[in-house]
């Protein structure tokens, strides 16, 4: 019944609407992060990012700093709340607890016979029968235009050693992506197409390793590296990432290779090709989508990694990768700078995005490979 022409189009509509809805829901956090990255810390704590595009009525406090003058027995301070600048006062008040009790132009009767008059251009007159010892504060409400700035991005880009951290991240990421692929491709071929005793068991072990959390291996691995003389170094982190990435790589590639048509490989063998020739000339080119999709996974994971980098690299600032630099240096003590956090997320996301968009067609093809004819 599903194939009736009339119902199909309405279903299509429903599908499209729900897809759009899902995309919007998925994008909301990212949009919020993007908007927040242009706001400073105080603005972020004061109002939600969804309100940031609207001018908001905000309350301000200004000290009436002017010299008190004695006029007709009362002490008077005159001034303008905007100082040199300009703006429009909508409401004002003389107490912090009621900053918008009076409309601009009115005269507010305050405690102890004091009065305050404020015009909408910000001019105010404060009077007190008693001597004014301490500059009083006056309060007013004014519309604040939305404010966005690149300050967060400038802080991040301008901070010392940021370029170094970027290069360090690349130094870690590129070999840590290529090495496991090289090893895993060989292993996957052997597990898929070469007959040897214990092959099934080996595959089972690899699948089993998939579920071992890498945190378990941190201390023993670092001990091993220290004993080997590798210590905390780039070589060490390449080895660590390779080790942690291999099970998934072998598993993915083997499953893909096993699905390649048996006929091609057997004819090549009949024609006298060695296993190595079959691997390099036939299997490797055919597996390109799977290789690329794993490369994307591994690249993203090593790029975003903080834990492995902190354990296997020295802790001095010359060897910081970007994630460590952001987490330990830029976020400030106790991590209160949300604006920096948001901006840093967008800076560090840039390269993975480029990688993803240039290689995404392989990702889709690699994931679907074998499932659709």
């Amino acid at each position: 019944m599903d194939n009736i022409a009339g119902t199909k189009s309405s279903l299509n509509w429903a599908v499209q609407i729900s897809v759009i809805l899902l995309v919007v829901i998925w994008l909301i956090p990212t949009v919020g992060l993007l908007v927040s990255s242009f706001r400073d810390r105080d603005a972020i704590t004061n109002s939600g990012w969804w309100l940031s595009a609207l001018p908001v009525e905000q309350n301000f406090a200004v000290k009436a700093e002017g010299e008190p003058v004695s006029k007709d027995g009362v002490n008077v301070i005159e001034g303008n709340v905007f100082g040199e600048g300009s703006g429009t006062v909508s409401k004002f008040g003389g107490r912090r607890a009621a900053p918008d009790a009076f409309k601009a132009g009115e005269t507010a009767e305050l405690t102890k016979g004091r009065t305050l008059t404020m015009q909408s251009n910000g001019d105010y007159v404060y009077t007190s029968p008693a001597e004014i010892k301490r500059a009083p504060s006056v309060y007013f409400a004014a519309a604040q235009p939305p404010e966005f700035s690149m300050v967060n991005y400038e802080t991040i880009m301008g901070s010392a050693n940021m370029d170094r951290a970027f290069i360090n991240t690349l130094t870690v990421t590129i070999p840590a992506t290529i090495i496991p692929i090289l090893i895993a491709a060989f292993a996957a071929y052997a597990l898929a197409w070469m007959d040897f005793p214990g092959r099934g068991l080996l595959i089972a072990v690899v699948v089993g390793l998939l579920v071992v959390p890498l945190q378990l291996a941190l201390v023993p691995m670092l001990k091993l590296h220290n004993a080997m003389g590798v210590g905390q170094s780039f070589l060490g982190i390449w080895m660590a990432h390779t080790g942690f990435g291999l099970p998934l790589a072998i598993y993915l590639l083997r499953n893909y290779m096993v699905g390649l048509p048996r006929d091609i490989i057997e004819s090549a063998k009949v024609d006298g090709a060695t296993d190595f020739q079959v691997f390099t000339k036939i299997v490797l080119p055919l597996s390109f989508p799977a290789l690329a999709s794993f490369a994307i996974f591994q690249f993203l994971w090593t790029w975003n990694d903080l834990l492995v980098a902190k354990v296997f690299l020295p802790s001095n600032s010359e060897s910081w990768v970007m994630t460590v630099k952001i987490a330990d240096d830029l976020l400030g003590s106790r991590g209160g700078d949300w604006g920096i956090l948001a901006a840093a997320a967008f800076i560090s996301i840039a390269v993975p995005l480029i990688v993803f968009f240039t290689m995404q067609r392989y990702l889709v093809r690699g994931l679907l490979a074998g499932s659709v004819k």
Binding site: R96, L331, G332, S333
Partner: protein, 451 residues
């Protein structure tokens, strides 16, 4: 007097330019109100050119910058290089690196409990002989600092492993003097007054307190400070120590009473900004901003001395914001107890230059050169208090040096699974409506399971 202040101010102004210019000593030796004599003697007696001291600690961002300036004096005096690196996840990193054998020379522990853990596994080296005597006679309330840095080693013998450097004062209530002034509120001198003031603010139609417990994975810790302060204000210091050591059980009526004292503030919808349900959800970094909102969202905020770092930009402590001592009950006669915390240096990988660095930390200048940069309190009795960056820090330094009872943050002393786990989550459960006795019982059960 004014003259010294002026020089201090000039030196400060100079600091911002010269320090940027050559990234070197912020103050030339011999200038300002610093204690230079001991520094000069130290510089003449020590030469460690070519050696490196690796230090890791929890100070990141601008705290790292400040410590780097302190370290510059050591480098200048001895010719050694110091590499300090701060980490946001120091507590985890140091465990991994000491166990794997790639430890730095010195580690700065924010929690004595963690240092005690590592000491008992034989991963720390005791301080050089005589350091404990030196601390006992040169720190205000010296013996208590020695006790806090003394742990059992691998063989169960007590040794001094930690030297405290940088103290946080916790028994502080922050407020806006302007808001207090306009509303006509006075600084409460006793806990009875504080409670009366709280009710007074409610009667005036306002909200007295801002309380926020949110802190990512550490959510709940600000509540533990409240409970500890309440413990010190309702029970004797001896009871407090027994509680820390679990000789007094966590579900003892005295502890439950202290938790309920906290609940009297935090679980009253009228007392807390956003109502009691907002307490656990509000981030502790955001909660003090309520003091400065116009109109104020609250009038008081109980938090440690570091909190001005999270005040809105441009807030001047002493003018826009100030603090008073979180008062004690007048009727209970327990003196003026002060709750604090601090970071301590411990040796994770000994060397000669490392020992010299600890010697350097004994010098007043090692403290003064951070005091002048702000955000630093010390228990070192030999420092010149004039070097504190502002009056408010000087007043806090005064509270610290005059306390009748000083007690360290209990949650930092308890085993990590309690002090940095069950206690935190228990407090979140309590503020969200669970019964105090039930929460305390659950924490005690976790503690029993440890042994």
């Amino acid at each position: 007097m004014t003259k010294t202040y002026l020089t201090g101010a000039m030196a400060l102004a100079l600091m911002s330019t010269t320090a940027l210019a050559d990234g070197h000593l912020p103050f030339a030796p011999g200038e300002g109100a610093f204690s230079w004599d001991s520094y000069t003697a130290f510089a003449e007696a020590n030469d460690f050119s070519g050696q490196t001291v690796e230090i890791t600690g929890p100070w990141t961002g601008n705290e790292k910058e400040k410590f780097d300036k302190v370290v510059a004096y050591f480098e200048e005096a001895t010719g050694a290089d110091v590499n300090y690196s701060g980490s946001d996840s120091f507590e985890q990193d140091i465990v991994v690196s000491t166990r794997a054998g790639s430890a730095p020379n010195l580690a700065v522990f924010p929690q004595p409990g963690l240092a005690a853990d590592l000491a008992s596994q034989g991963l720390l080296t005791p301080l050089p002989e005589g350091t404990d005597d030196w601390i006992a006679s040169n720190f205000a309330a010296g013996p208590s600092w020695v006790d806090l840095g003394t742990y059992a080693d691998k063989d169960g013998n007590d040794q001094t492993f930690g030297m405290f450097y940088r103290v946080d004062l916790k028994s502080l209530v922050w407020y806006s003097p302007e808001a207090f002034d306009e509303a006509g509120y006075d600084i409460p001198e006793t806990m009875e007054d504080l409670k009366a003031l709280t009710d007074q603010i409610v009667a005036d139609g306002e909200t007295p307190w801002c309380i926020g417990l949110g802190s990512g994975a550490a959510t709940g810790w600000p509540a533990t400070d409240w409970v500890e302060d309440m413990m010190l204000r309702t029970n004797s210091p001896a009871d407090y120590d027994a509680w820390v050591a679990n000789e007094m059980k966590f579900d003892d009526p005295k502890v439950i009473a202290a938790i309920e004292e906290f609940g009297a503030f935090a679980r009253n919808d009228d007392y807390v900004d956003g109502g009691a349900s907002a307490v656990a959800n509000t981030d502790f970094r955001d909660s003090p901003t309520g003091l400065f909102a116009i109109p104020p969202k609250c009038y008081m905020h109980r938090q440690a001395s570091f909190i001005p770092a999270f005040f809105p930009e441009g807030t001047v402590v002493g003018e826009d914001a100030d603090f008073f001592y979180f008062p004690a009950y007048a009727e209970k006669d327990l003196g003026k107890p002060v709750l604090g915390a601090g970071t301590l240096f411990a040796i994770t990988n000994p060397s000669d230059a490392t020992t010299a660095f600890l010697e350097f930390l004994k010098l007043p200048i090692a403290h003064e050169s951070w005091m002048v940069q702000g955000g630093f309190l010390t228990a070192h009795a030999g420092v010149n208090l004039e070097t504190y960056q502002d009056d408010s820090l000087r007043a806090q330094g005064g509270i610290l040096q005059n306390a009748t009872t000083f007690r360290f943050d209990a949650s930092d002393l308890m085993p990590a699974e309690i002090g940095a786990g069950a206690f935190w989550t228990g407090m979140v459960d309590y503020t969200t409506g669970k019964d105090a006795a039930e929460v305390a019982k659950a924490i005690q059960e976790r503690w029993d399971a440890l042994n």
